[in-house]
């Protein structure tokens, strides 16, 4: 008895076809949250992702959280910086145009740092998602 078409088994075995340039989709996704999905014609999801990442970032800045930059002798700050840089253009706008650093004595510093880091990490996941969609591995 044959399986009905479109089962997970068949989908996994079927060869994938790229629907768009995955590198361009990934770069766009990194630069602006949601832009990769917009490029791949997922407009509603792009808008939702854009709003979620931006809201997380705005709350983090409002709480005066830390926008990480590497600190000599503290290798974990390098990882945290890469995580924050995952948000793309907003990181560089905050750091170099708005000169944002956060305030270590602010009451919401730790919470704000979590929100800012989460915004960056969420966008990194969006980069991977856009890459997979562009390759045809994901809907």
């Amino acid at each position: 008895m044959s399986e009905p078409s479109g089962t997970p088994t068949q989908q996994a075995a079927a060869p994938t076809t790229a629907v768009a340039n995955p590198l361009l989709a990934a770069v766009l996704a990194w630069l602006v949250p949601g832009a990769g999905h917009l490029f791949l014609k997922r407009g509603r999801r792009a808008l939702l992702f854009f709003v979620l990442v931006l809201v997380s970032l705005v709350i983090g800045c409002w709480l005066q959280g830390n926008l990480y930059s590497p600190v000599q002798g503290q290798p974990l700050t390098l990882l945290a910086t890469l995580g924050c840089m995952g948000m793309g253009v907003p990181y560089f706008v905050l750091r170099y145009l708005l000169d944002y650093h956060g305030d270590v004595v602010a009451i919401g510093f730790e919470y704000g740092t979590a929100f800012i880091l989460t915004a960056g990490l969420m966008n990194l996941l969006l980069v991977l998602d856009a890459w997979d969609i562009a390759l045809g591995k994901k809907e």
């Binding site: 999801r45 979620l52 709350i59 709480l63 270590v104 004595v105 919470y111 979590a114 929100f115 989460t118």
Partner: protein, 63 residues
Amino acid sequence: MSHFLLMVVYALLVSLFFTALWRRERKEQVQLFLQLFLGMVVGGLAVAWLMYPFPSGPPAPIP
């Protein structure tokens, strides 16, 4: 802003994000959203309750 409200807002953002990222069907989205959101909020409260007897110690020095 209270600690609890911040935790709820954080859980809401993260749950919405992963729901949109991982699920397409509406029913599955609702199911996953509730699992993630309630898991984080209830889990956070449970961990806070378990840690309650432990002393918090002196405040950390400001660098």
